[in-house]
Every structure is written in structure tokens, then in C-alpha cells.
């Protein structure tokens, strides 16, 4: 990295975030659990296999269509744990509050968090609060960490994708990013674009409880579907082919992206997962996901190949082909 200061790009979730992790963070904290770079760490404590994950939320604005920073923070960590193939159990909450935040807003956020935790069946068991002078933070920042239990025999990781795997996405992409952007920039949508923030642990549980094979689970949050597919292609050293004609995107979200020049492949999702499954189980897993309340629009998006390891290709609507790279640069800061 040639910059001598942290830029917003370092928080994009794209290429620069990855180089910050691999060049600056990993060498300092280096250990095998961290080096795996999955959504959470997978740990052995005695006989028990656990998933442990943490995430911080700085979204601006704190209230947006369909949710607020509170349920975003709970769902986000639940999903990170679920993507390890674990059942999320306990959550911690750290609140950094700016002096002057209206008490009513604070209460609303707490109540939303409690409701989100109840819905997902997890308990908020510990936490911390700090208040900083006005201007030293922006309204409220939230950190959540969580622990989940991985059942014996479950082995889900970003490095498990195999040639021949089918790739399933659990629903429409780019809803969250566009909902937040629309509110922040005061764009007056003539439609009801809402965040897709949702807990995916029950969907994951249903897949794991079935007899279907499952290689990779990942929620394509910051950096979007395009970046997440690249991460998996690199971690598993495989090629990935996806079809533009299969990409599920709501008309209004697509229209907004077209108008503003955003690529929906790089826009954040907060309630979607991608699953890599052996071809023989693909239809069954797709059906299981579609049965879940947050998976009705699930589709098979593409497949894994042994060609061009580490790269993602998109077959375009007109029959052309192009590379889908990781997000380079910050498309939308403070989206989660």
C-alpha cells in the first residue's frame, strides 16, 4: 500500500480492505484460525466445535426503510455465525454513542435489537456502553460479537468449493445498499425499496439438517455478491461462472443502479446467502431455501469450474463474457 493514511477505500470490503487485512492485520495477529478468513473463526473448546464472530456497524443514516442500525447489527453477526455452519446462541453488544442522541431513538434501536434477537432465537448476554462528546462519533456505532455451536460432521468453509458445485443465491441482490443510499442522498424513490436485513440462521439450519451436501455458505454483505464470489474463488482456488440472466434483481433496484451507474454485483446485501453445493443436491437445497421466509426468490446462479482458478466470469445477456473482479475502490461508504 502506497498511502500513508487510512482512506475510506480501506473500509470498502473490496480489494483494498483485503490487502489491509493480509498486509497489515494478519501479520501482526497471525494464527491459523484468523488466517482462514471465513466469516467467523472456527474453534475447538474441548469436544465442542464453536464459531465466533464480530462485526461493527456504522451505517449512515441509522434509520432506513425496513430497518435500523439495531436489527442490522444483530442480524449481521447471526448471519456471520450461521455462515460457518453453526447455530448462533449468544451475542454481545457494544454501543458507542454520541452525546446528544435522542433517548427515543436509543430506545427504538434497543427494542429493535431485542426483537431481532428473539426472532432468531439468540440471547444478548453481555455488553458495554460508551458515550463520546458530540462530533467525536456519528449518533451511534454498534459492535456485536456472537458464539454459535457447530454440529459434529458439519464442515462449511470458503475454501471448500469444488469444480462442479452449483451456486445458489437466496434472493434478490443489492436491496440493502440501495435502500440506505436512497435515504441518505434524499433520492425520492417512486417505489418501496427496503433493506433485506434478516436472520438466515433458520434457513442454514434447514440445509444442515437435510441430508444434502453443503460446501460453502457466505453472506455477500459489504463489497456485494461480486466481491464475495471472488473471495471464494481465491480461497478454494477454483473458477466461477455465473449467468447475468439468472441474477435476481428487483426492477426498482436495477433501475436505480442503471440511473446512478452502480453495479448491483458490488452493492451490499444484509439478508442473503450464497450456497455452494454438489450438483446432485442443488435442486433439493434450492427447494429448502425457497421454503424459508427469506428465501422465496432463490435461484441457481452458476457453477464452479476447474478453469481459471481464482477468477469469476459472467456470461452476459447478449452472450458475451466478462470478468467480475473484486470491488476496487469504495462504491458506497458507511453502508453497514
Amino acid at each position: 500500500m502506497t498511502n500513508d493514511k487510512i482512506l475510506l477505500d480501506h473500509g470498502s470490503g473490496g480489494k483494498i480492505s483485503h490487502s489491509m487485512f493480509s498486509e497489515l492485520i494478519l501479520p501482526v495477529f497471525n494464527n491459523p484460525e484468523l488466517a482462514k478468513q471465513d466469516d467467523g473463526a472456527i474453534l475447538m473448546l474441548g469436544e465442542e466445535k464453536l464459531a465466533f464472530s464480530t462485526d461493527s456497524y456504522v451505517v449512515d443514516p441509522i434509520f432506513f426503510p425496513g430497518g435500523n442500525i439495531g436489527d442490522l447489527a444483530i442480524n449481521g453477526t447471526i448471519n456471520d455465525i450461521a455462515m460457518c455452519g453453526a447455530t448462533p446462541r449468544f451475542i454481545s453488544v457494544g454501543l458507542i454513542i454520541e452525546e446528544g442522541l435522542p433517548l427515543a431513538d436509543f430506545k427504538t434501536i434497543l427494542e429493535t435489537m431485542a426483537k431481532a434477537a428473539r426472532k432468531a432465537g439468540v440471547k444478548i448476554v453481555t455488553g458495554d456502553t460508551k458515550v463520546v462528546p458530540r462530533g467525536k462519533a456519528d449518533k451511534i456505532f454498534i459492535n456485536t460479537s456472537g458464539i454459535g455451536v457447530i454440529a459434529p460432521g458439519v464442515n462449511v468453509s470458503g475454501s471448500n468449493a469444488r469444480p462442479g458445485d452449483k451456486i445458489i443465491v437466496s434472493g434478490t441482490i443489492a436491496d440493502h445498499g440501495i435502500a440506505v443510499l436512497g435515504t441518505r442522498e434524499g433520492l425520492k424513490f417512486d417505489s418501496d425499496i427496503k433493506t433485506d436485513s434478516a436472520p438466515l440462521n433458520k434457513m442454514v439450519q434447514s440445509i444442515i439438517d437435510s441430508s444434502c451436501g453443503i460446501h460453502v455458505l457466505r453472506d455477500p454483505t459489504r463489497g456485494g455478491l461480486g466481491t464475495t464470489l471472488n473471495e471464494i474463488a481465491i480461497q478454494s482456488n477454483v473458477g466461477i461462472n455465473i449467468l447475468e440472466s439468472s441474477l435476481p434483481i428487483r426492477g426498482a433496484v436495477r433501475g436505480t443502479c442503471e440511473l446512478l451507474g452502480f453495479d448491483p454485483l458490488y452493492i451490499a446485501n444484509e439478508g442473503k446467502l450464497i450456497a455452494f453445493v454438489p450438483e446432485k443436491d442443488a435442486q433439493d437445497v434450492l427447494e429448502i431455501i425457497r421454503q424459508d421466509e427469506f428465501g422465496k426468490d432463490a435461484v441457481i446462479l452458476g457453477e464452479v469450474t476447474n478453469k481459471d482458478p481464482g477468477r469469476v466470469f459472467l456470461k452476459t445477456l447478449i452472450g458475451g463474457s466478462r470478468i467480475v473482479d473484486m470491488l476496487t475502490g469504495e462504491q458506497l461508504p458507511r453502508i453497514c
Binding site: D9, R254, G320, R322
Partner: protein
């Protein structure tokens, strides 16, 4: 905001038919230039290069506003950002373009108040909300954005806004095409002319250039079917040896363009010489504020007169913009120059050809 008529212009059967027709025209190697950055991006995004016969080479021209912005203008933006009491407003792409010593992104990290806006009207709103600050807008664009800029200045004048100014690095398309045709070594067999710009200028704006150089020229839209159709027309014109100026975007472009927009543009701005990256000074290819709008001229208000500076060593952006080189022929490409560590603007802008090559091929 569900946009209609997207799928119709991305129809795979229609695309296949057009490609078949292009293939059936017997032609030698052809070098076609898409002048507009939005065309460049669309060509990559839809994988158009991957379905064309190998005889056809598509070159990206000087139509990405950020890419053609001279180094000294980028330096000026950085200088404005460094001024006390200034809020610098800009469209997003410009923020990472490296100037001689810094970029707006770096100045922002140092504490400068640099804000990304989606419309220049937002910059005026910021000025109204911050009466104690000076708001400067980086005006980088072509005929597409200049009329809006002019309308904004008229409305700011009417509202008595005193703390809003622009630094104009605006440019016009037809003079650049002429300059390109006069450049030694440039070899172009046809122009894919910009869609948005032509909505304002109309087909007639290119008449002079076309008649002088007699080069196949097609105005078209940005969807893959539009672009394939333009390529087919250019290929056919080359095969028959009968060049023509064709408007293949009649659903948006007329002969004379948007008269109202042109009137507003000419009310506020007048022609001036302008510096283009890589190409240099092109006579009457820019637009500066007329005298009666001098109060909105940031260069005058801040007495900013940046010296001409040379472009970074090894950066081939200029040659790439003229179709003399492809990004892959630049020795910095993917080595020293990447979207994370850009050296030239073509690697920064979402419409830049180096960024497009890096991302999509």
C-alpha cells in the same frame, strides 16, 4: 423507478442476429473508436468485444470527462480543497485522480472538506446551508452536463447565492474529434459518436468534422443492441466505401439537439481554448464563464492560476485516449498503475478505458 425498455435493448437473439450480420460483411481489419466513456463501459460490461469478429478493434476515445482533465486542473482542485473555509464539491470519480502531489481523497483524509454530489444543484444547497463557507464545484464535463451547470448558475444568481463558485474544466466533443484526426499516427476507420452529448448538440454538431475528414460516423445509444447496430453500420460503410454521418439513436437525438439547453449554455458560458490530457491545448474546445458571471468563477475569486505541468512519467493515458495505444501496451498497466494505486485518470474513472480493461478483461 423501474426503468422500462432495458431488456429490449439487451435481447440475446437480436444481438446474435446483429453479430451474424457484422460477420457476413467482408471487411479488412477495422479500428473503430467509441468516443464516449459510457460506451467504453457498456462495451466491457456486456462483453461486446468477446462476440465481435477479431478483425474489429474497438478503441476508447477522449470522451471520459475525468480522463481528459489536464493535470494542472486536478492540481487546482487539490489547491481549492486545501484552502481554509472551502467546501469542495465534486462528482465521485474525480476524488481519486492523482494530481502532481496529492489527490482529493488524500486531502479529505487530511481533513479537507471534500463532498461528493450527484448534481451541481446539491452543491448550491450546500452553499445555502453554509453561508460562512465558500463552496467550490469542480466542473468537469462535456455538453451533457454544461447546460445543467449553466442553469444552476442562473438559479444561484437569482437566489443571491454569493458563496458558490465553479472551476470550469468543461470540454466540447467535436473539436476533440477534429484534433484527433489531425494527429500524426492516428488511424481510425469509424467513430461511434456519443449518445448523451448528441442529445444536447444534435447530429448537426458533427457535420463539419464529418465533411472535412469524410470518416464513417454513427451516433448511438448505450445499450448493447444500440452499440452492435452502430458497429454494423460502420462496418457496412467501410465495406462499401461510402462514409456517412448516421443518427442511429433517433429515440433520443435530433438534428438540432436540445435548443433550450444550448441557449442556456451559451447564455452563461463562452468558447475558450482548453487543455486536454495527453492531447494538449485544443482551440475553442472549452467553455468558460462569461464576464457577467465572473462572480461565480472560482479561479478568479481565489486568484488560482495553476502552471501547466507534465504528466506522470510512463503514463500512457494521452496515447490511449487518442487510440494510439491500448491500456495493455502501457508499461505501468497492472504493475504500478491499478485502480487501488492509479497513476493516470484512465485507471480511476469508472468510464476510463484502463479501469475497464482492468476490471473486465
Amino acid at each position: 423507478m423501474s426503468l422500462k425498455y432495458i431488456d429490449e435493448y439487451r435481447d440475446s437473439d437480436l444481438a446474435k442476429m446483429l453479430v451474424k450480420k457484422i460477420q457476413s460483411v467482408n471487411c479488412k481489419d477495422l479500428r473503430l473508436m467509441e468516443v464516449c466513456g459510457t460506451h467504453t463501459m457498456s462495451i466491457f460490461k456486456h462483453g461486446i468485444r468477446t462476440i465481435l469478429p477479431k478483425e474489429i478493434t474497438l478503441l476508447s476515445g477522449p470522451g471520459c470527462p475525468v480522463c481528459v482533465t489536464a493535470q494542472k486542473d486536478v492540481d487546482a482542485f487539490v489547491e481549492f480543497a486545501r484552502q481554509n473555509n472551502v467546501i469542495l464539491t465534486t462528482f465521485g470519480d474525480l476524488i481519486k485522480v492523482p494530481g502532481s502531489g496529492s489527490s482529493l481523497a488524500k486531502e479529505k483524509a487530511e481533513g479537507a472538506d471534500v463532498r461528493i454530489v450527484y448534481s451541481v444543484f446539491d452543491a448550491v444547497d450546500i452553499a445555502k446551508q453554509n453561508p460562512d463557507k465558500e463552496v467550490v464545484f469542480c466542473a468537469v464535463g462535456f455538453e451533457t452536463t454544461i447546460p445543467t451547470l449553466a442553469a444552476t448558475i442562473l438559479s444561484a444568481r437569482e437566489d443571491g447565492v454569493k458563496n458558490f463558485t465553479i472551476y470550469s474544466a468543461n470540454k466540447l466533443t467535436p473539436p476533440a474529434l477534429a484534433a484527433l484526426m489531425e494527429t500524426k499516427g492516428v488511424q481510425i476507420d469509424g467513430f461511434i459518436l456519443p449518445g448523451h452529448v448528441s442529445v444536447i448538440t444534435g447530429t448537426n454538431a458533427y457535420r463539419g468534422t464529418f465533411e472535412k475528414y469524410n470518416i464513417p460516423s454513427v451516433i448511438t445509444g448505450f445499450e448493447p443492441i444500440d452499440i452492435l447496430k452502430a458497429i454494423l453500420i460502420l462496418v457496412q460503410q467501410n465495406a462499401t466505401g461510402l462514409p456517412a454521418l448516421v443518427n442511429a439513436y433517433p429515440r433520443a437525438v435530433s438534428e438540432n439537439g436540445n435548443l433550450k439547453a444550448k441557449t442556456i449554455m451559451n447564455q452563461v458560458f463562452k468558447l475558450c481554448d482548453a487543455s486536454w490530457r495527453g492531447i494538449g491545448q485544443i482551440p475553442t474546445s472549452g467553455m468558460e464563464l462569461k464576464k457577467e458571471f465572473a462572480a461565480f468563477d472560482a479561479a478568479k475569486k481565489f486568484n488560482m492560476d495553476m502552471p501547466e505541468v507534465s504528466e506522470p512519467a510512463g503514463c500512457a493515458c494521452g496515447e490511449i485516449l487518442m487510440g494510439l495505444k491500448t491500456p495493455k501496451a502501457c508499461k505501468l498497466y497492472k504493475k504500478k498503475c491499478t485502480p487501488m494505486t492509479p497513476v493516470g485518470p484512465c485507471m480511476v474513472s469508472s468510464e476510463g478505458s484502463c479501469a475497464a480493461f482492468y476490471r473486465y478483461s
